[in-house]
Symmetry: C2
Subunit: 134 residues, 2 copies
């Protein structure tokens, strides 16, 4: 459901709130795949919020859920093509924080340097890393 036909509002409709983007971050940058791994974010997400955000991201086709091959009673989560295409949004967020809040945050300086040198190459490299985990 879209609240307007604006393309920026659309992103916010699908992401829902801050937690959704942090779940995508954990899958994309930290290689998390299982529910229990996602629960261990440094921001301390509550179990009911994590469950609801996973469902809503799956409904928006940003993540997909599959049975865990090593334990079929469990599930693993991964990014869809649409979810991987959010990487440039995340990269721009990192660059903004690196530019304006470098003294108070834990900035991944190697990533920032690569992004400033060749943004497209960095995104392709990250896309490959994400796909290799699937």
């Amino acid at each position: 459901m879209n609240r307007s036909d604006c393309p920026i509002s659309n992103v916010l409709d699908h992401l829902g709130d801050r937690w959704s983007l942090l779940v995508i971050r954990d899958i994309a940058f930290f290689g998390k795949r299982a529910y229990n791994e996602l629960l261990q974010s440094s921001e301390g997400i509550a179990t009911n919020i994590l469950s609801s955000r996973l469902k809503s991201l799956e409904a928006s086709s940003i993540i997909k859920r599959q049975p865990d091959p090593s334990d079929r009673r469990r599930h693993i989560y991964s990014l869809t093509e649409s979810g991987k295409d959010l990487l440039p949004v995340l990269i721009e967020m990192i660059l903004w924080s690196a530019k304006h809040y470098s003294d108070t945050l834990d900035i991944p300086t190697e990533l920032v340097q690569k992004a400033n040198e060749d943004r497209d190459a960095l995104i392709n490299q990250l896309m490959d890393q994400i796909s290799a985990r699937e």
Copy 2:
């Protein structure tokens, strides 16, 4: 106040919620400057939410508030340098929606085409347009 030292979480801390980013959109892309103009977003923001988001964006130094030269009892809002630097985040959100939701949304096709041809040139052009309004 940062909930973690992650640079992505930091952006979400400062933006607060979807409304903050839509206020930035209205200032950046639609040239809105006055409270009453910002109240007319197509998403229908409530007055109390608009007031609180303007205060919080000002506290985060993303927007600044000045007396309206034409009526000094009123204020106008504009983006700070830090606020303007969120443009690339907004552009990437537009590109994501244009790629995955072009059939249901009102996509600014000229902007998308420019972004795909020469992203940096587009951002510089938009920055100049925003600065020219100040």
